[in-house]
């Protein structure tokens, strides 16, 4: 396992939305997928996921329902809504511009 990185402020929402765009998931699964798809670099502090999920739900970007999980317990599964998908596209564009800008500065 390599060196872990803290999340850049404000990016957690983006990561959650992106993860949910692939398929609906419950909180634990989201954390696992972020860790896996970032090649074990981004270790989201598990607990901090939930305030973000609740915030996104309040904004109507994700919805949730209770479903039976793989271990037979009931899990609260989140999925992306249409406004969520739109928001994700906008934030990804925003993020790309941001990265590019940082890159330009660093290479200047």
């Amino acid at each position: 396992m390599g060196k872990k990185s803290d999340l850049v402020q404000g990016t957690l929402d983006l990561l959650v939305l992106k993860t949910l765009a692939l398929q609906p998931a419950h909180g634990y699964a989201i954390a696992q997928r972020i860790l896996a798809s970032s090649r074990q670099v981004l270790d989201v502090q598990q607990g901090s996921l939930y305030p973000a999920l609740h915030r996104l739900e309040r904004k109507g970007l994700v919805t949730s329902e209770w479903r039976e999980g793989e271990n037979g317990r009931m899990a609260k599964v989140y999925s992306l809504t249409k406004p969520g998908a739109r928001q994700l596209r906008e934030e990804m564009d925003e993020w790309s511009r941001y990265i590019a800008a940082i890159q330009w500065v660093l290479e200047a």
């Binding site: 607990g47 901090s48 305030p51 609740h54 317990r73």
Partner: protein, 879 residues
């Protein structure tokens, strides 16, 4: 309770538990025990509670949830200081509720303006003079009262009414009415009695009333030959006629004459005198008393010396009372039958504001509106002081708590909100209770007020009064509730946190000053209550000069059923004889004027150069004996004897008249045949000089007085039979014992005394609650200190003594201040003529102080006992 934030809470729990358990499942698979796996999951997950908090903050309902938390916390804090909370809630409930109930009642009786358009334009026309207007007035019906050395009266001649009415056209409209009379009615075969008031045809148009049904009266109804009509009050129509839609136009028999019901008055209008119970209005020329042959009123129609009518004016907009008075002076003087004998005997007009209707109440008590308002203000002040000092007392420790919370990261705004919510909670509980208290007391008061059954009252809690008193007290609760948070925000946290167990000495903190002020106001209120109630008792219990027990009174009105001339004389003679012969009756007499009804005829009597104003009462020979006024000298008149007079003893002395003296009254020489013991006749209040004249059996109505051996009311049945044997069609009207009659005269005084008394009781309760709340709270706070004192050797007695002394010192200081206040208030009351001079004897004050002092001792005793039972070890551990 399923509230939104609760539901989300439990979902959140489940959601997080799922996460933790799934994590733990993984660790378990790696070979950990379940317990260890859960521990590790929790550690890696982060602080569960803070995450829950963070989630909650993200929710739509978070503000509501916070208020919920605030409320829950507030409730917990209230329960932590129960004595303060209960005292505060009680204060709010009583303070708002009781004052509202009383304001409502006072409003109904004293303050409510008449339900007519522009009531402020209404005025009552009165006249006043120093001496009796001799030669101008030979008889009157109405009321007269004294204002200092002046006599003020409300009666005028019909000629004066017509003159004045015509002259001021364009400036004001003037309407007239006569005093109420009880009449018998029969409608659709049902017979009952009703109160009838004769009025002029323009009476209702002057008031500006619109009919509820049919029509009201008009000028043409005043014409001599007009068809007899009657207007009903809504209350009478609804209760006695069952609210018949077809009532207008149908016939009703009144005293055996047929009247057509013209219409029904609007429901809001109950009469021109607050609380009066008039049922019917009839145009004056058609009223039973005017249609009765030889009636005194009928003579008054054309005789400018008989002053029988009361006047009401509606000023046109822009016309002042002074202008009206100036305009009326000339036509009034033109109506006089003779020239006044002197300046002192010249009547002058007085215009009195009448937007609230006419009423003797205001005349008798100066202006009770202000007195009562003053008392309400005092009670509210006490209530606010109570709230303030209770919440301030609690604020000391709340400051510490607030400081702690700020230093732990609580935002100031959130802190303010917390305190705001707590105050609101307190205010709401108190406010809610107060509505119940107000409604309950309003209902209770009507049953408690002596004589209220004779008033037409339907008190409902007045929302304005509730709102007014509520706003004041609740505002006090909010202001003083927020005080600790405000102090913390200003002073910062350090000083509050540094205090530990304090060895406090009694200091003059704001709270203690407030308790003191409260006690002082309490003295004032309780004194006022005692003064007014004593005054009533003095009036009611005063020796009237006659034997008031065992007297039965009732009216007979043979004139109403057609008796006249010889038949009438025979009837009176037979009635007196047969009633006097009944078993159980000692004496029977007949009087022309009912005693203790406040009415009568006034005249002046001369004996040479000595002259006196007197009340004239006519009665049969046995009338004085049945009234219970003994003769000091001489004899009573023989049947049919005329030209003789009996003087009251006080009057005889004043006139320097003795038996056999020839006195002059109304230009007739009368021989004094008897001197009677000095006695009150028309009311308990003013001491009248009274003369008694023989009863004229041409009277078409009279009051029978029976002196009985047994309780008077037991004779009502047999008396009915006896009168029925004479003539079945003559009813017994207004049957009362003399004692009932006396208490009816004092009804308004009673009401006023009752209101004052209840304010006194309220003040007492509030003061005691305040003192108790403050002391029990400070004692609780000083538990640690008391523990130290006891550990250092103070005995229980000493501790108790200290707490007692502390509380009583406050009480005594307050009482002393209150005494000064009371003396000052008495001076003001006397100068405002609210009280006769010297009505506040020292013992009243002593009594007030004793009552308050006792309640203070009782209030202090509880906390003192509790302090003395402090367990030092327990106390020190807690501290």
């Amino acid at each position: 309770m399923r509230v939104p934030w609760r539901r989300e809470e439990s979902e959140l729990d489940r959601e997080l538990r799922y996460h933790l358990e799934t994590m733990a499942d993984g660790f378990e698979r790696d070979g950990m025990t379940r317990a260890a796996a859960m521990r590790r999951a929790r550690r890696e997950f982060g602080g569960v509670e803070s995450i829950k908090d963070a989630c909650r903050d993200e929710h739509r309902w978070s503000w509501l949830a916070q208020i919920g938390q605030d409320l829950e916390f507030g409730w917990r804090m209230m329960r932590k200081t129960p004595s303060v909370s209960i005292a505060a809630v009680l204060t709010l409930a009583l303070g708002i509720g009781a004052t509202t109930a009383k304001l409502t009642l006072a409003d109904t009786l004293l303050w409510r303006t008449l339900p007519v358009p522009a009531p402020e334009q209404l005025s009552e026309i009165l006249w006043f003079s120093k001496d009796r207007p001799e030669g101008l007035n030979s008889g009157s019906s109405g009321s007269m009262f004294r204002d200092g050395t002046l006599r003020v009266a409300d009666f005028f001649s019909m000629a004066a009414y017509r003159n004045m009415r015509e002259t001021v056209k364009g400036k004001a409209r003037i309407a007239g009415h006569l005093y109420n009379q009880r009449v018998s009615i029969s409608y659709a075969g049902r017979v009952s009695v009703a109160e009838e008031r004769p009025v002029t045809g323009n009476f209702f148009t002057t008031l500006g009333l619109q009919p509820h049904q049919g029509r009201l009266l008009q000028d043409s109804d005043d014409a001599a030959g007009a068809a007899p009509v009657v207007v009903l009050t809504h209350r009478f129509w609804a209760s006695k006629l069952g609210g018949e839609r077809t009532a207008a136009g149908s016939a009703m028999r009144i005293n055996n004459r047929v009247y057509t019901i013209a219409g029904v008055l609007p429901p809001a209008f109950t009469g021109i005198i607050p609380g009066e119970a008039t049922d019917l209005y009839i145009p004056i020329p058609q009223s039973p008393r005017m249609l009765t042959a030889d009636s005194w009123y009928r003579e008054g129609e054309g005789d400018a010396r008989k002053w029988i009518i009361q006047l009401l004016a509606r000023r046109e907009p822009g016309v002042s009372e002074d202008e009206l008075r100036a305009a009326l002076a000339a036509p009034y003087a033109a109506s006089w039958a003779a020239r006044p004998k002197s300046a002192e005997a010249t009547p002058q007009l007085r215009i009195s504001e009448a937007s609230r209707g006419l009423g003797a109440m205001r005349r008798r008590f100066g202006d009770p509106v202000w007195t009562l308002l003053g008392l309400v203000t005092l009670v509210l002040l006490i209530a606010c002081a109570n709230i303030a000092n209770l919440l301030l007392a609690r604020s000391v420790e709340r400051e510490k708590e607030a400081a702690l919370r700020v230093s732990l990261g609580c935002e100031e705004l959130r802190l303010l909100r917390q305190f705001f919510t707590e105050s609101l909670l307190l205010a709401c509980i108190g406010g809610a209770l107060s509505v119940g208290v107000a409604a309950g007391l309003s209902a209770l008061m009507v049953t408690l007020i002596p004589g209220a059954e004779a008033l037409t009252l339907a008190p409902q809690t007045d929302p304005r009064a509730l709102a007014g008193t509520g706003v004041v007290t609740l505002a006090a609760a909010m202001v003083f509730g927020l005080y600790p948070a405000w102090r913390t925000a200003r002073a910062g946290v350090a000083p509050a946190l540094k205090e530990g167990i304090t060895l406090s000495r009694a200091r003059w903190t704001p709270a203690r000053m407030l308790v003191m002020a409260q006690m002082a106001l309490g003295v004032l209120l309780v004194t006022a209550a005692i003064v007014f109630t004593t005054r009533l008792n003095e009036l009611a219990g005063k020796d009237a000069g006659f034997e008031r027990q065992h007297v039965l009174l009732f009216d007979l009105r043979p004139g109403e059923v057609g008796y006249k001339g010889d038949r009438l004389q025979q009837f009176w003679a037979a009635a007196e004889e047969r009633l006097g012969a009944m078993s159980g009756v000692e004496k029977a007499g007949i009087a022309q004027t009912r005693p203790m009804l406040g009415g009568g005829h006034w005249d002046s009597v001369h004996n040479g150069d000595n002259r006196a104003e007197v009340a004239v009462h006519h009665g049969t020979p046995d009338f004085l004996a049945s009234l219970g006024v003994p003769l000091v000298a001489g004899r009573v008149a023989r049947p049919n004897e005329t030209g003789v007079i009996i003087l009251g003893q006080n009057l005889a002395r004043e006139l320097n008249a003795g038996l056999g003296s020839l006195v002059e009254m109304n230009k007739r020489k009368l021989t004094v045949i008897g001197i009677a013991k000095t006695a009150q006749y028309s009311s308990m209040e003013e001491e009248h000089r009274v003369v008694y004249l023989p009863f004229s059996s041409e009277q078409d109505s009279g009051t029978v007085l029976l002196r009985t051996a047994a309780p008077p009311l037991a004779l009502v049945g047999p008396v009915r039979e006896t009168v029925g044997a004479l003539d079945k069609s003559i009813p017994l009207v207004d049957i009362y014992t003399m004692e009932q009659q006396i208490s009816r005269t004092l009804q308004r005084e009673r009401l006023f005394a009752w209101l004052c008394g209840s304010f006194g009781v309220l003040a007492l309760v509030l003061c005691a609650v305040g003192l108790y709340g403050l002391l029990s709270h400070t004692t609780a706070r000083r538990t640690g200190e008391i523990g130290i004192r006891m550990a250092l050797g103070a005995t229980r007695g000493r501790v108790m003594q200290q707490v007692l002394a502390d509380g009583l010192r406050l009480a005594v200081a307050g009482l002393a201040l209150g005494t000064l206040l009371a003396f000052w208030a008495a001076r003001v009351a006397e100068s405002q003529k609210l009280l006769p001079e010297g009505q506040m004897p020292g013992w009243t004050l002593v009594a007030a102080i004793a009552v308050l002092g006792t309640s203070a001792v009782l209030a202090v005793a509880g906390p003192a006992l509790r302090a003395s039972s402090v367990d030092p070890i327990h106390a020190l551990r807690q501290g």
